[in-house]
Symmetry: C2
Subunit: 165 residues, 2 copies
C-alpha cells in the first residue's frame, strides 16, 4: 500500500502518499519556524503578522497602491485598512495621494517604518541564511522550484514580478 502511487516501483518513490504527507508536515513545521522570529519582534511593538506582511510588501514595492496590496495579500480591504491605519497613525507608513490618479494612495515606509522592516527582515533572513547554508545551494534551488510549483498561478505572477535572479 506504500506503493499505491508507484505500481511499477521504478523511481517515483518520492510521490508515495507517505512522502507527500511528510512534505505537508515539513511545510507546517517549517512555516512555524519561519514566522517565529518576526513574531517575537512584532510582539514588542504590539503588532501582528498582518502588519509584517504589509510592511514587507510596501518595502518591496515602494509607492504601491492599496489595491495592489490587496491582490498580493488576499484579504479584504477592511482587514487591510485596519492594519494600514495603525501603521500610518504610528508613523511607520506614509500614504500619499496618487499623482496620476488622485483616488489612489501610494504607500511608503517612513524612516521608522524602514527601521522596523529591517529589524524584522534581518531576523527572518538570518533564519533562512542558516537553513540555506546547512542545506547547500542545490537544495536551495530545489526548495525554490517546489515552492513555486505549489503556488496558485495568480500568486506565482506576483512572486515572479520581483527582482532576484
Amino acid at each position: 500500500m506504500a506503493d499505491a502511487q508507484d505500481p511499477a516501483g521504478q523511481g517515483l518513490l518520492f510521490l508515495t502518499d507517505e512522502q507527500l504527507r511528510k512534505g505537508a508536515e515539513a511545510m507546517f513545521f517549517a512555516y512555524r519556524g519561519f514566522t517565529a522570529d518576526p513574531d517575537r519582534i512584532l510582539e514588542k511593538y504590539g503588532y501582528g503578522r498582518a502588519h509584517h506582511r504589509a510592511i514587507h510588501f510596501i518595502r518591496r514595492s515602494p509607492g504601491t497602491t492599496v489595491n495592489n496590496l490587496l491582490a498580493i495579500l488576499g484579504v479584504t480591504k477592511q482587514s487591510l485598512n485596519r492594519v494600514l491605519r495603525t501603521l500610518i497613525e504610528d508613523g511607520l507608513v506614509e500614504s500619499r495621494i496618487g499623482a496620476r490618479d488622485k483616488r489612489e494612495r501610494n504607500l511608503f515606509l517612513t524612516e521608522s517604518g524602514t527601521a522596523l522592516e529591517h529589524e524584522l527582515s534581518s531576523a527572518q533572513r538570518a533564519r533562512l541564511r542558516a537553513a540555506f547554508l546547512e542545506a547547500g545551494p542545490d537544495a536551495v534551488s530545489g526548495f525554490r522550484k517546489v515552492l513555486e510549483a505549489m503556488m496558485d498561478p495568480e500568486l506565482r505572477r506576483h512572486y515572479n514580478r520581483t527582482g532576484g535572479t
Copy 2:
C-alpha cells in the same frame, strides 16, 4: 550592494539578501497555495485550519494524548480544547480514557473523522504531488532539506518522529 553577503563573489550568490528575501516570499506565497484547497473543504463543514491540524496529527498518531498534541501544535490547551470539543461532539474524534494512566485521554478518529481526514489530505496531496512532479525528485529532496533546516529544533524532533523514509 547586492553582494553584501558575498564579498568574494565566488559561489555564495544563493545567500545574498535578495535571494533570502525571495526565499521568504516563496514561503509566504507557497503556504497560501498549500492551505488553499483544505481551507475550501473545511469551510463546507464549518471547520477551520485548527480542526485540520488536530485531525491530521490524530491520524498520524492514533491514540495520542492531549498533551502530546499540545506540544506538536504549539497552542494553549484552552485553544486546542475548543477545537477538540467540537470534533468530539460532532463525532469525528473519539476520546478514550487512558488504560495505563487514567488521567490521559487517547484520541482517535472515528469513521467519519477518517473520511474527512481523507478528503482533506487527498486535496493537499494532489497539490503537493503536482508540485513534486513538476519540480522533480532532486528538487523535492532539496525542498525537504531546506524546510527541515528551517524548523525549530524541538519541532524538528516531532517532524522526524514519523515514518517516511
